[in-house]
Amino acid sequence: MSDLVTGRTGDWEVVIGLEVHAQVSSNAKLFSGASASFGSAPNENVSLVDAAMPGMLPVINRECVYQAIRTGLGLKAQINLTSVFDRKNYFYADLPQGYQISQFKDPIVGEGSLRIVMADGSTRDIGIERLHLEQDAGKSMHDQHPTKSYIDLNRTGVALMEIVSRPDMRSAAEAAAYVRKLRSILRYLGTCDGNMEEGSLRADVNVSVRRPNGPLGTRTETKNLNSLRFIQAAIDYEVARQIEIIEDGGAIDQETRLFDTGTGTTRTMRSKEDAHDYRYFPDPDLLPMIVTQDEVDALASALPELPDDIRDRLMGEYGLSAYDASVITEERDTARYYEAASDGRDRKLVANWMTVELFGALNKSGKSLENCPISPEKLGELVGLISDGTISGRIAKDVFADMFETGKGAAAIVDEKGLKQVSDSGAIETLIDQVLAANQDKVEDYRGGKDKLFGFFVGQVMKESGGQANPSMVNQILRSKLDGA
């Protein structure tokens, strides 16, 4: 598979690295006791520390540190037992301290990796450079007053994990797969809710282009993308823009760009020359952060099974396709649903019913697995009825639709509507005889060599049975009557 982009002057390779800001799931902020919840009235969740009152001091929220370590473990990354909080200094109205407390030289988490799965089932390992903890800034509101700006400090000091990838991605699709997978891991771990609409997960996208195997090109960074669609659109736009500039004989400026969600284009935010000098230095209000190997081990042993492990198990033990296994394991709830539904059933058949029928119905009705009318046990029951020959796959679709509508059990619906499959060979034989008698001419044609007509006879018999005849028995008896006579 080639991800090369063809320009006027030849092929280009796209190089993408992502910096994802993931809000840590925690009750309180990173360095103050204030609530970190979303949706409160402006400035409701602001402590004296958040407002940077004189003499106030930060105190680390240990739970946020543990969340970062859990995430690091989920990314199979190096956990640094000693890390340092630094100050990143800049002035802005919604940054009360005049600096953000972040980690610059010594982050809590070092190198790791993350496996992405593409639509064709192929996988790629994307390198993780680091993960560090930092404070979020507040929010400036410029549309509340004709001449004034308003400041909401609710987000100020909320803990973020900045997760930096290696420039290992080669297409917008890979970048999207990376974010989707990262979000999946964060949600499995419970370290970030992954809610992109609420801003819990945002990505800065670094993009450059180069000739295949050539030296790296100059990159641009597009900031603050909060949906998978925007991430892909921003990359596509940047790739096209950069190739056009270079092919026209120009050069790419190393700069920070903003994505316009309305037009799907990017524009310059600030150039390299205007880049801030953040004057990083270790925050003297905080001691170096020490965690013990025992703490890390305890967190590791309490970690839930992660999507890659479950996926391997579903493919290895249950024989699921790479695609089905990936779809089922993307969300923890889906995987749990699947495990419950397929327990004691035909694992592959349940996977098929989940990914096709169930997801289709949920999609269509706008429902989620959380409020799905069919419990995993009931879906398992339906598949069980197919497996033991009680109903055919076709009838099962009707039963499924009924279940989705009413929430009733599969067996109950089959009983109630008399949908039980006919597996009585005498009854099926009678039906077949009737069909053959009514279509003597076609029987002649079939026996004369038009063996494709076999399907026609099957269809007629099934129709006469109201779909309830056991299809494999119909096949078997019909064949013996047509061929064996």
Binding site: P54, G55, L57, V59, N89, F91, G98
Partner: protein, 493 residues
């Protein structure tokens, strides 16, 4: 009791407990003293009603037999401490009118021990200075005068605190010491000043100057008074990540323990060229006093001492430049409006910060900026580790160090204000202890031929304030320092 102001803190506690005096009487006397010496400009806010109400509560607790360690003792508070409901400005225009809705941990500890708050004391703006001349409220003045009767600085940055204790307009006072801001003014004003070990007192609620160096401590008339208030000030505070959990020693008991068998180091690098000969004489006298009291005096070397001042004047401004970024006109304090956000920052900070503060913000911003960080800040931090190493090495063989507190006695107001570098030299003996996080105490040792006080400094191991009080107690007794300043409340002048 006629001479209320003549009682030191320990004596006042006894008199209060015996009901020979009341806390209201004592507080009234100190409020009167503060008014009588208002010309010294050492108070920036006198909170008389608040003080009398607190004193009345103290009298009730004394009557109920529930007196705290500092019950009924009038205390002045450096304006760097945030005090709930009372203007707290760090003597800066940028915080003019700022009234915090919270109380610093250190002052809260004092009030919990029964202390009575008299008011807020003058200091250098954001504690940046060595003469208390950089205050938005104008300079505080030293109650001591030389033969020519010229106004002298009380030292800085805690100049108001030292001046008030020396002038007897506060029985006790709090200060903060980032590079000598307690010990140097204590020496200039002839009082006792302790900078505890970094982490001993909580920094929570104290306006930050340089976070890795700042430490609160007390000013008192005697060493015993100092141990008394220090016992109440110190605490572990979960709100300050750099606050220690090391238990506090018995400081009050240590004062009279003497120095018999102690090994006292005399660092040769503290004998600097051009140092006042009277300072050298006092230093030698101090060594003799300790030797006479049974201590063993040992020459030691602190080879990196000469790099302390340059390192300090990189690290302290670097931290300050970041700590003071929050004074931006957005949420509290002064705001000067402008067309743009950046314009508002510039106008507010230009109008709100004084010259010395602006100078240090600029130095700090410079030394942290890309391309200079390694050459300045990082190198200064390396020097800091070497200085700490010097002390660690010395404390392998000695229990404490004896040095002069300052290279000279107090200088006239206005004399050196145009020469910041000369001003910086005042901190030459005090800065190393801040860089190393060590405790240090300044004790009055004698007077110059001009009649101005000179102090001796004792430095100790981390969290060994008890040894400082032992040594300081012996020095105090040997010096028999009984002189009082010219402009003292209830005094002759």
């Amino acid at each position: 009791m006629s001479d209320l102001l003549g009682l030191n803190a320990v004596a006042a506690r006894e008199a209060l407990d015996k009901k020979a005096i009341s806390a209201v009487e004592l507080t009234t006397a100190y409020l009167g003293a503060a008014e009588a010496t208002a010309g010294l400009n050492n108070y920036v806010a006198l909170t008389a009603d608040h003080a009398l109400a607190m004193a009345a509560e103290s009298d009730k607790r004394i009557a109920a037999g529930a007196a705290g360690l500092l019950e009924g003792l009038p205390i002045g508070v450096k304006d760097l401490f945030c005090t709930k409901g009372i203007s707290s400005t760090a003597c800066s225009n940028i915080l003019k009118g700022f009234v915090p809705p919270y109380e610093s941990t250190v002052t809260a500890n004092l009030w919990a021990a029964g202390g009575v708050m008299l008011g807020k004391l003058n200091c250098d703006e954001f504690a940046m200075g060595s003469g208390n001349e950089n205050s938005a409220f104008g300079p505080a003045v030293n109650p001591w005068q030389g033969k020519d009767k010229v106004d002298l600085v009380p030292g800085g940055s805690s100049g108001g605190s030292a001046s008030a204790v020396a002038a007897r307009s506060a029985l006790l006072a709090t200060g903060t010491d980032t590079g000598g801001s307690i010990r140097q003014p204590a020496a200039f004003c002839g009082v006792v000043g302790l900078k505890p070990t970094y982490g001993r007192c909580s920094r929570w609620g104290i306006v930050a100057f340089a976070s890795s160096l700042d430490q609160a401590g007390p000013f008192t008339r005697t060493v015993a008074d100092n141990a008394l208030i220090m016992t109440a000030m110190a605490s572990h505070d979960a709100k300050d990540s750099t606050s220690t959990q090391t238990p506090l020693q018995d400081l009050i008991g240590a004062v009279g323990d003497g120095v018999k068998g102690m090994k006292i180091g005399v660092p040769k690098e503290y004998g600097m060229d051009g140092m006042d000969s009277e300072v050298v004489t006092l230093w030698e006298q101090g060594q003799a006093w300790l030797r006479d009291a049974g201590a063993e005096l040992i020459d030691v070397s602190l080879p990196h001492t000469k790099y302390a001042l340059p390192a300090y004047y990189i690290i302290a401004p670097a931290e300050a430049s970041s700590n003071l970024a929050r004074y931006d006109g957005v949420r509290y304090g002064m705001r000067v409006d402008a067309e743009t956000l950046d314009g508002m920052y510039e106008a507010t900070r230009a109008a709100g910060f004084g010259e010395e503060v602006q100078r240090r913000i600029m130095i700090g911003t410079y030394v942290l900026s890309a391309g200079y960080y390694d050459a300045y800040y990082l190198k200064a931090q390396k020097v800091r580790r070497l200085i700490k190493g010097d002390f660690d090495e010395a404390f392998q063989t000695v229990d404490a160090l004896l040095t002069p507190a300052t290279p000279s006695a107090a200088f006239p107001v206005g004399r050196k204000i145009d020469d910041p570098v000369t001003n910086f030299l005042n901190d030459v003996f005090t800065v190393p202890a801040n860089l190393a996080g060590l405790p240090g105490i300044a004790v009055p040792g004698g007077v110059t031929s001009d009649g101005l006080p000179l102090g001796l400094q004792v430095l100790g191991r981390p969290f060994d304030e008890a040894s400082l009080y032992r040594v300081a107690g012996v020095l105090e007794q040997a010096a028999g320092f009984k002189m009082t300043p010219a402009r003292m409340a209830g005094g002759a002048a």
